[in-house]
Amino acid sequence: MKATIDYTLRLGDSALILSHRIAEYCSKAPHLEEDLAITNVGLDLLGQAENLLTYAAKLKGNTTADELTFKRKEKDFRCVHLVETPNIDFAYILARQFLMDIYHNLLYTKLADSSDETIAGISKKAIKEVRYHLQRSQDWVVRLGQGTEESHQRIQNAFDELWMYTDELFFDNSTDKEVAEKGIAPLNSSLKAEWKEKVNQVLQDATLKIPEEIHHTLQYGKNGCHTEYLGFLLAEMQHLPLLYPDAKW
């Protein structure tokens, strides 16, 4: 049970924090159409986060999705480092999205067959959304890669810088091993080969260099150890409910 809660929190937190990063970008995209489109992706992720955190709250008992979102401390979050990274520029945002979209596609496809019925149900609904997210972010990666000299350089820089955060996606901690044994979720390491193949394919299409594999020696977000970025994000996200507990509007 503890492992299931931890795992559900991780899925929910990763969707929540990525959605918050996208929300921060609202009104700042290069043009109006893209602004609406990327914000829609953020709203999809927020919906997934709500479903997952509601389930985590039910398993935990005596709490709600809102409380988990607004009243937990940084070390209690379980999101992966990749979604915590800040919005450096448009290329960076799209590269981060693309890396997560491929991962979510593979993961939710497997989770649709989870032995946990609620997780399977949430995943079946999410897979339709993340499939579209991937189509969008993948097109942008190719477009920026094949675009101007500047767009090519920026998307290449983004992948070079974000690459070190991708190994966490395929790292299995004790929670992963336990939920895998119970048939709730696949081992992350089992998704790596397919993820790499798909990422490589798109990067080649985009005429981008595939960054070298880096082993990230820091602690991982899924273990509750976060990047320096998360604390600032939470300070902003949780500010209002902490200042005015249980405010209604």
Partner: protein, 96 residues
């Protein structure tokens, strides 16, 4: 970004129900048809407005010019005999 690099204008038509007619709902800017289709989906169908999308490049649409209004449309005003309003319709006839 400058004002001139948002791509070309596309007109968007949505089909509310399968088999129904496509209706013009608005326009958008995009660099190519794939991007135009994705934007159309995000801008115009996210609240279940329909399940079919047509896109036409604005420049491919031929439209009448307002300078032609008099010659094109005014002559219709005084020719009521072009409307089938002089027939007596039997009671109960529908769809006229």
């Amino acid at each position: 970004m400058g004002k001139d690099n948002q791509g070309v204008l596309w007109e968007v038509f949505i089909q509310p129900k399968a088999g129904g007619t496509y209706k013009h709902v608005g326009s958008l800017h995009a660099y190519d048809k794939e991007m135009a289709m994705q934007s159309a989906r995000d801008l115009y169908t996210r609240r279940s407005e329909g399940n079919g999308i047509w896109l036409v490049k604005g420049e491919d649409i031929v439209s009448s010019q307002s300078i032609d209004d008099e010659a094109f449309f005014d002559p219709a005003n005084d020719k009521i005999y072009r409307h089938p309003t002089f027939y007596k319709m039997p009671d109960g006839a529908k769809h006229i």
